[in-house]
């Protein structure tokens, strides 16, 4: 399933790419793309939206606790 989130507060496109590759490594996530300019994240996952959100939020906050993730 394809899920989109808004991801707000990333510093630079380089960080965006790093975060995306970290999310991609998590279990249940097939792919993760972050567009720094549109502040949008697209994830392919076998999880449902709620579970994916919780999982990704955890990774984001560990990466940088100023990040905001919106459904």
């Amino acid at each position: 399933m394809k899920i989109k989130f808004n991801i707000i507060g990333l510093d630079c496109p380089n960080c965006a790419a790093k975060l995306a590759s970290q999310i991609e490594e998590a279990e249940g996530i097939d792919s993760a793309k972050i567009n720094f300019l549109t502040e949008k994240m697209t994830v392919e996952t076998s999880l449902d939206e709620g579970a994916a959100y919780d999982l990704i939020l955890k990774i984001c906050l560990a990466f940088d606790d100023d990040l905001k993730l919106e459904k």
């Binding site: 510093d11 630079c12 496109p13 380089n14 960080c15 790419a17 790093k18 793309k33 567009n35 720094f36 300019l37 549109t38 502040e39 949008k40 697209t42 990466f63 940088d64």
Partner: protein, 618 residues
């Protein structure tokens, strides 16, 4: 109180001000050789400016990511302090903070200006529920509901006007500045703005499937499709940072080993390398250029489906066109009525009555041109010939010369015309009606502009008869034409054109030519924002049917590509130059910080030029 203080200390402005003040104090006391105090002031300045950076750096280490920008900056600042360059170590952090603040502001501003362009989907709509007007979320408007649109309001869903007339500003969707007048029966796309008058309309699509939402989706997804320039810079930066960091290590260790330099001097040089090694200036400027180009083009009614389309449009050498609906308006009109032995009105009356049973575009246009018609009897549509029917008890036929012959009517030579439709009654020829599919008024100018942009070859690919196609080619200044092509032949001709030239554009209206749109280097679908197949198959979509938009698209693409390349050369060039200076011990931390954040800010500002379009031909 404490929380408030903390918040104030967290604001970048305050941090910069305070740390600059402390830094100045440090400089002054250092100058009068009161070094202990000077060092304390520097240390405070460093902590205030760099606290967040240090915290992030530690996080970077915990993530096992030693090439993190924050980490590199921290090492550079603290390292400079250790080798005795206190003021420089402190300055690195302060100016990194200043640069970052500017960079974030520039990115935020460019995001906002692009978002403003994209603010075409209203959140709410007024609808009539049981005769009463209510404001509901645009997403909750169901098909068939009556929406009310007042002056100044934006249309929330695609709909058909049922009542009222008004002027409508379509510019944010089509890029056309001239308002359109609409009344009952006309369709409205979401994103249009009603400038005067009140309209009642029936929703025909949900807001999420309406034009504005689809345009927005297309444009948002477009920045995911990377251009060659973007892929290059991403690949480049992946190697750039590790290589420069490795160089820094070499520079720090090797010269002192051979007695070429003191350890502290060479460590200082290495630290400047670390500052320069941050890749962000590179990585941000190029995508932002394309982002700007996509946004700027969208505001003019041109949708690029990805950054990868720009360079191909920019270098187009051959432009191939579909004819009907692309070069011509696709709306047939009666050009001339030439009766033989009867009145004009009577001829038209008979022709329209017979044709009233057919949906052929020619039949529809004859019907439209007639004042009154009657229902015919025993009407028969003969494909490829025309229609026969009984009108007022007499057997009539409307169609081509072959039909006339089969009806036993002879058409005198002076009545045989280009694009003629012939009419006979009771085996007697009674007149010719000529039909034209008019060339769009701007076609000639549009083609001329393409030549001025360096397009070498223009071609019409058409299924129509040779005499029509050659006339249109001559009229518009198009160099080559191929007529009477079947859809397969059209595709083959296009393939031949593609193999002959560097980049080939194909411009079509998306009806029956989706394969060609998909095959060309760049397929441009025009005037058909509703057609899914056309949007899918094409690389760029032009929202209006205005041919001048093709040269405009080329100009926007060229400008965007040029800006992206400028940014690549500029960012890499400055970094390489300062690395070189650093290598010979000529660069200090200040220059290194400029090479990082200063370049980023300038590149972002340059990228924003892609948003604006001015028509300029060399």
């Amino acid at each position: 109180m404490r929380k408030k203080l903390k918040k104030i200390l967290k604001s970048d402005g305050i941090k910069i001000g305070l740390s600059l003040l402390l830094f100045a104090g440090g400089l002054i006391f250092g100058f009068v050789r009161f070094e202990a105090l000077s060092l304390v002031l520097y240390a405070f300045a460093l902590v205030i400016a760099g606290a967040d950076v240090f915290v992030d750096a530690v996080k970077g280490i915990l993530r096992l990511d030693p090439l993190d920008e924050k980490f590199l900056m921290s090492v550079a600042a603290i390292g400079a302090m250790i080798v005795g360059e206190w003021s420089e170590g402190c300055a690195v952090m302060i100016f990194y903070l200043v640069g970052e603040t500017f960079e974030h502001r520039a990115v935020r501003k460019s995001r906002a200006s692009i978002k403003a362009l994209m603010d075409i989907c209203p959140d709410e709509a007024s609808v009539l529920i049981d005769g009463k007007e209510e404001i509901i979320d645009a997403e909750d408007v169901e098909i068939g509901m009556t929406v009310v649109i007042r002056p100044g309001e934006r249309v929330a869903v695609d709909c058909t006007v049922t009542e009222g007339t008004a002027h409508v500003d379509t510019s944010s969707m089509t890029g056309e500045p001239i308002p359109v007048t609409v009344g009952a029966g006309d369709s409205l796309s979401s994103g249009f703005v009603v400038t005067d008058g009140q309209l009642f309309a029936t929703a025909v699509r949900k807001s999420t499937e309406s034009a504005a939402a689809r345009v927005l989706e297309l444009v948002t997804v477009a920045s995911d499709n990377k251009s060659r320039e973007e892929s290059f810079i991403t690949r480049f930066s992946r190697y750039y940072t590790p290589i420069v960091v490795a160089l820094a290590l070499v520079v720090a260790v090797v010269p002192p080993l051979f007695g070429l330099s003191t350890l502290s001097k060479s460590v200082y040089t290495a630290l400047t390398f670390l500052v320069i090694s941050c890749p962000c200036a590179l990585v941000i400027s190029v995508p932002l250029s394309f982002f700007g180009g996509i946004g700027g083009a969208a505001s003019r009614g041109i949708l690029f489906k990805g950054g990868n389309v720009f360079s191909k449009i920019a270098s187009a050498e051959t432009v191939a066109f579909d004819k009907t609906g692309t070069i011509t308006s696709g709306r047939f009109e009666i050009q001339d009525i030439i009766p033989a032995g009867i009145g004009t009105d009577e001829l038209l009356f008979i022709a329209a009555s017979v044709e009233s049973v057919s949906n052929h575009p020619v039949a529809v246009c004859i019907k439209k041109g007639a004042q009154n018609i009657t229902a015919p009897k025993e009407a028969k549509e003969l494909s490829g010939l025309g229609v026969t029917a009984e009108v007022e008890g007499q057997k009539c036929a409307v169609g081509n010369l072959a039909l006339m012959r089969s009806q036993g009517a002879t058409v005198p030579d002076e009545y045989i015309k280009e694009n003629g439709v012939y009419v006979c009654r009771s085996r007697e020829f009674i007149g010719t009606i000529t039909i034209s599919d008019s060339v769009k008024p701007e076609a000639g100018e549009a083609i001329k502009k393409l030549y001025r942009l360096g397009v070498k070859n223009t071609v019409i690919l058409s299924g129509d008869r040779e005499e029509n196609v050659s006339r249109i080619a001559k009229e518009t200044g198009i160099i080559k034409y191929y007529s009477q092509l079947s859809p397969e032949e059209k595709y083959e001709k296009l393939e031949a054109l593609i193999s002959e030239s560097k980049s080939t554009l194909y411009v079509g209206d998306g009806i029956n030519d989706a394969p060609s749109l998909a095959r060309a280097d760049v397929g441009i679908a025009m005037g058909n924002m509703g057609q899914d197949s056309a949007i899918e198959a094409s690389d760029a979509v032009i929202m209006t049917d205005n041919l001048l938009k093709i040269s405009e698209a080329m100009l926007i693409a060229r400008k965007t590509v040029r800006i992206a390349r400028e940014n690549i050369v500029f960012a890499i060039g400055i970094k390489a130059f300062i690395l070189l200076l650093g290598f010979f011990g000529l660069a200090n931390m200040w220059l290194a910080v400029f090479a990082d954040v200063g370049v980023a800010v300038l590149a972002v500002l340059n990228a924003m030029r892609a948003l604006k379009f001015t028509e300029k031909y060399k």
